[in-house]
């Protein structure tokens, strides 16, 4: 069956019913000084100067090839970094490495040598929480301006203190001779943060050698709107749910809401009624189609550089999806439709009309996709720009923590809907799409084929919902008005968002608000692969690679 995966060779600690943490602890021997139990996995506490040894053992000998996330936080008596590890082959096998460091001088070893993705994650932890990572290749602020004072998610931060922000990088790039000093044959080109090809406010510092990219440094943080702080200020029950819509804002709201819903429901032990799960699955896949349509349209815009046919067609089709989503949720973009334990309300009446509308859309979809294939993938100019450009090998994709269509375009068979099932996905018949080209073309192809799979899922959901007995339409479980999870529970849970693994770490402290809320954004990790892809490529290929990554700055910067 499509939902099964070939089993991997036996690794240390793997047993039939999950991970044997004792065997893993034995593997690490004296490195493990304490063990914690998180809701999703066990946590091994290790000394701050043994991080590299521990992670490299776990990566090479126990098969933990995916550093999903790094959470940094400050307690009353210490700082703490948590490395959330899992496996690309089976993401249900998870392990947290907890690294405490002293309050007065928070230091620990960097993991950037073991996992490439740790580079940016540690920079973010340094920027927002203030932990120093020794042996890090380039530890400087990533989201906030370089002249910022203080670390905003640390305990003693004063939010009202004045700040000074410079405009240095924005000086006219051609004012001085921009040939770089140490190598006079190269030239510096400044792209963004206001640029039509950067999909929002991304700033890309590029060094060109002739027409080829010699060095590239994505500069992010132009849309860092303190999402984690906002979520830490809100109560679990209702005040957090509106924010996920605004992480990945290209209509992927339902998928993001599910990430929070899943984490909080598992934390507070809430069962979601089956009927609500089917509605969730259907609306989430509609969101995915809308998001992939935008990816397709803007990618065509990047490669062809026009605002005409393909871009407009993609938006025409998005309008149809958005109308359906508006019927469900009452909003075109920021749905706020999920609730902890279910959804806000039942499907719109009259139901027949509503289902008819979805079926009409699904019936038209194959023809539309065929048209896109004619216009895009079959186009010779497009192929010349995209085939064999922006190559990302599967090994690099894994090391950078790439997920979603970016990983699947590199042949990494990783999809949380199948591998770490939630919702109603494991009851339905659909396939995980992978392509092995590893180039820009594959990534676009994966998205287009995923739209077909999403349509299959929606169709099955509609069938189910149509026949659902009227007296069994329970949309909401019984959830207390104020949710107060047990103190000191920790959880990391992820769902398959439009761009990849969208994970959330929550630590509770017994109050009705989370003590720490960390968002693992797929775009953040995916964007890190850009230098890897575009080194030595022409600059238009770099723009195509950027388009094929399909980043949303709201989610990169949070």
């Amino acid at each position: 069956m499509s939902l099964e995966k070939p089993s991997s060779p036996t690794e240390i600690g793997v047993t039939e019913d999950g991970l044997d943490y004792d065997a893993l602890a034995e593997l690490l021997g004296g490195h493990v000084i304490d063990r914690e139990s998180h809701v999703n996995a066990e946590g091994f506490v290790v000394r701050p100067d043994e991080v590299q040894a521990v992670l490299s053992t776990l990566k090479t000998e126990a098969g933990f090839d995916h550093l999903a996330n790094l959470t940094a936080q400050e307690y009353d008596d210490r700082y703490e970094s948590i490395y959330h590890l899992r496996k690309y082959d089976d993401p249900t096998q998870e392990l947290s490495i907890v690294v405490p460091s002293p309050k007065d001088d928070p230091h620990n070893q960097s993991a950037a040598r073991i996992y490439d993705t740790a580079d940016w994650h540690e920079r973010e932890a340094y920027d927002l929480v203030g932990i120093d990572y020794d042996d890090h290749p380039d530890l400087r602020r990533i989201l906030l301006p370089e002249t910022w004072q203080g670390h905003p998610l640390s305990q003693d931060y004063d939010q009202n203190q004045p700040q000074i922000v410079t405009l240095r990088e924005n000086a006219n790039p051609l004012q001085d001779d921009q040939r770089s000093e140490d190598d006079p044959d190269t030239m510096f080109v400044n792209i963004g943060p206001h640029h039509p090809a950067t999909h929002g406010v991304l700033h890309v510092k590029t060094v060109l050698d002739g027409e080829q990219v010699a060095d590239i440094d994505p500069d992010i943080g132009y849309l860092h709107r303190c999402e984690e702080q906002m979520c830490q200020q809100g109560t679990y029950r209702h005040q957090i749910m509106p924010y996920p819509d605004r992480w990945d804002y290209v209509s992927a709201g339902m998928l993001n809401e599910w990430a929070y819903a899943r984490a909080a429901e598992d934390l507070a032990d809430i069962e979601v009624p089956e009927y609500a799960q089917v509605i969730r699955t259907m609306s989430a896949e509609l969101s995915r189609i809308a998001a992939h349509m935008l990816a397709l349209g803007t990618f065509a815009l990047d490669v062809f550089g026009d605002f005409t046919a393909i871009f407009q067609y993609a938006f025409r089709d998005r309008e149809v999806v958005m109308n359906i989503l508006e019927d469900i949720s009452g909003q075109r973009l920021m749905f706020n439709y999920f609730r902890l334990g279910g959804v806000a309300w039942d499907l719109p009446e009259p139901r027949d009309e509503f289902f008819e509308k979805i079926r009409d859309f699904l019936d038209d979809l194959p023809y539309k996709l065929e048209e896109y294939h004619d216009l895009i993938t079959g186009n010779e100019i497009f192929q010349m720009r995209c085939v064999d450009t922006g190559v990302l090998t599967p090994e690099k994709a894994k090391s950078y923590g790439a997920t979603g269509p970016v990983a699947r375009g590199s042949g990494v068979d990783y999809d949380l809907r199948r591998d770490d099932p939630y919702g109603y996905y494991d009851e339905l018949d659909w396939n995980v799409v992978t392509e092995t080209g590893c180039d820009n073309f594959s990534r676009v192809l994966v998205r287009m084929r995923e739209v077909e799979e999403s349509a299959r899922i929606i169709e099955q959901c509609v069938d189910l919902l149509e026949q659902w007995p009227e007296d069994d339409r329970e949309i909401q479980a019984n959830v207390p008005r104020t949710l107060r999870p047990e103190p000191d529970e920790e959880i990391y849970r992820a769902v398959e968002g439009a761009k990849g693994e969208l994970g959330i770490y929550i630590r509770s402290d017994g109050t009705d608000k989370p003590a720490r809320f960390k968002i693992r954004s797929p775009c953040f990790s995916n964007l890190q692969t850009l230098p890897e892809m575009s080194q030595g490529e022409y600059i238009p290929d770099m723009i195509a690679s950027l388009g094929s990554l399909d980043i949303v700055l709201g989610e990169v910067d949070r």
Partner: protein, 211 residues
């Protein structure tokens, strides 16, 4: 329009003029009418609202119908900037620079709650509480995000204002771009003196004074 003029010139507008082909008006009024009827928008995306802004330009809502539909990639070719999203400290100086590069006369439509007050992110440590903290705004379109219809209405209102020769007053004292050397020497400035050159442009945020 002498004899033998093509029939296509005989529009309803032409008929309305009656026998005389001339209109008497003030030049300024004429120019205002022209400006309002043909606006070049800046292609400027920030956050969530930019998605709805694209939908406003695209099929179905088609802002071009109102003579305001051509997005220009360069601020030097644009006369209206729609500010579609949350402005954070790192971006505000850049937005100011983009605005400064637009030729006069220029107009600003602020789209969404974030550009009015910071919206849902108002309490964020990094969020500028409204576009008006940085640049003067002519029309505010509320919503999170506003529907395309709302933005169309906002643009139509702007056209009306321009045709009437109205311009917007600056209601708050905005954050300005200044040279670092011109800042008042206080503790923070002293602290950063090693990092920032005297003639670097900077923006100083006094969060306490923000509305």
């Amino acid at each position: 329009m002498g004899e033998g003029a093509d029939a296509r010139f005989n529009s309803t507008l032409r008929e309305a003029f009656g026998s005389t082909p001339f209109i008497l008006t003030k030049f300024d009024q004429f120019m205002n009418w022209v400006r309002g009827s043909s606006m070049f928008m800046l292609q400027f995306g920030i956050a969530c609202c930019s998605i709805e802004m694209i939908h406003t330009y695209a099929i179905k809502h088609d802002l071009d119908r109102f003579g305001a539909g051509i997005p220009r990639a360069s601020p030097r070719q644009a006369d209206v900037i729609v500010v579609p999203g949350t402005i954070v400290s790192k971006f505000a100086p850049r937005m100011k620079r983009v605005y400064d590069q637009m030729p006069e006369p220029k107009f600003v439509v602020s789209m969404g709650s974030c550009t009015i007050s910071g919206g849902p992110f108002q309490e964020g440590y990094n969020v500028v509480k409204g576009a008006e903290e940085v640049i003067p705004v002519d029309i505010h379109v509320p919503g999170c995000p506003p529907r395309p219809e709302a933005l169309v209405y906002g643009v139509a209102k702007l056209q009306e204002r321009i045709a009437n020769g109205e311009s917007s007053p600056v209601t708050v004292k905005p954050y300005e771009l200044e040279q670092f050397g011109d800042l008042e020497r206080d503790e923070l400035v002293e602290h950063l003196a090693d990092e920032i050159d005297e003639d670097d442009l900077v923006m100083r945020y006094n969060w306490n004074d923000s509305p």
